[in-house]
């Protein structure tokens, strides 16, 4: 009896979560952190990791007591565990797919990214160790990572710190940052990505 119940719960969690479940839960994460005296912001961890790795002796920007950010590093570690559990025990009925719209599938095929309707993997093949040896893979993974790390600290926050925490607190600087996020994202999506695989 109890196994049946567990299977039911597993299957319930394993289905794709709609936006109206995910969004409020993200706000809940923000609230729990506020309740424990902290502000939600994942990208700060890059700075903490730099400081912990010795950058604190090289530059004053990293002269921070990274242990005071231990809570944030643990949130990141928890996200790693969450990703492990969700992908290993709560995968969907057909594996982990990205249920993107049909229009998106068509537009991906047009720019040379071959995906099949209803069978789009969650993580594309071009984000893998093999593709890291191609210039496209290197640009997307290492180049993208560098820009994210640089830009997030320059702007003082990422999607969690500005788009969610900042806008929830009606911070105008966060609105400017989010406008910047979209300008950058649109520029890359329309001016760079179409020419990566189709040239």
């Amino acid at each position: 009896m109890i196994e049946v119940y567990f299977m039911y719960v597993r299957d319930f969690i394993a289905q794709p979560w709609p936006w109206y479940v995910a969004g409020p839960l993200l706000a809940l994460v923000m609230f729990i952190l506020l309740y424990f005296g902290h502000e939600f912001g994942i990208s700060e961890n890059f700075r903490l990791m730099c400081a912990a790795d010795g950058a604190d002796n090289m530059n004053e920007f990293f002269k921070i007591d990274w242990r005071s950010g231990e809570w944030n590093l643990l949130v990141a570690l928890g996200a790693v565990f969450g990703g492990y559990l969700a992908s290993h025990y709560f995968f969907g009925p057909n594996g982990d797919l990205a249920h993107i719209s049909d229009v998106t599938v068509v537009s991906l095929n047009e720019i040379g990214i071959n995906v099949t309707k209803g069978a789009v993997p969650l993580v594309p093949a071009f984000l893998s160790w093999e593709s890291l040896l191609t210039w496209q893979g290197l640009l997307m993974i290492a180049g993208g990572g560098f820009l994210v790390g640089f830009g997030a600290r320059y702007a003082g926050g990422c999607t969690s710190g500005h788009a969610i925490s900042g806008l929830s607190a009606l911070q105008v600087p966060s609105l400017i940052a989010v406008v910047g996020f979209f300008m950058g994202g649109l520029a890359i999506t329309y001016l760079v990505i179409p020419y990566l695989f189709n040239y």
Partner: protein, 137 residues
């Protein structure tokens, strides 16, 4: 033990972003092409719920676990750092298809190549630290 709560919060974050497919490069591409409401729904409903939470905290003077009033610090009111830094972040977000939280989540999901993304992001943060004084804020 006190610290294990943060691991649990991180796990919740991981589940939410993984199961809602926000960790997917394809979902980010779809968002920037305005081809689906999904990502806008996630971010939008998070902000709407967040605004309600913050307003309740402010009006009811909700206290944190230590009994002190929850105060959300105002961000410095400048312009260049947010627009330029935001633009650079957005470029990285679109091309890698993952912002900082999804990177940790995908690493846990077995996509170990994201360790390269993590090192690259740390390098980016480090280079920003070196250049900080010469950049307009």
């Amino acid at each position: 033990m006190r610290m294990s709560r943060y691991i649990l919060i991180g796990m919740l974050l991981g589940f939410v972003l993984y199961k809602s497919e926000a960790v997917s490069w394809f979902r980010i591409y779809e968002m920037f092409r305005f081809q689906s409401f999904h990502m806008f729904g996630i971010i939008g409903s998070a902000i709407v719920s967040g605004i309600m939470i913050v307003q309740i905290i402010k009006r009811r003077k909700v206290k944190n676990v230590e009994g002190a009033e929850i105060v959300i610090k105002d961000k410095a009111k400048t312009f260049p750092r947010y627009i330029i830094g935001g633009f650079i972040f957005g470029c990285g977000w679109a091309i890698a298809g993952a912002c900082p939280a999804p990177m940790f989540i995908l690493l846990g999901a077995g996509h170990t190549v994201f360790i390269v993304y993590l090192i690259a992001a740390m390098t980016g943060t480090f280079v920003y630290g070196l250049l900080r004084k010469r950049l307009p804020h």
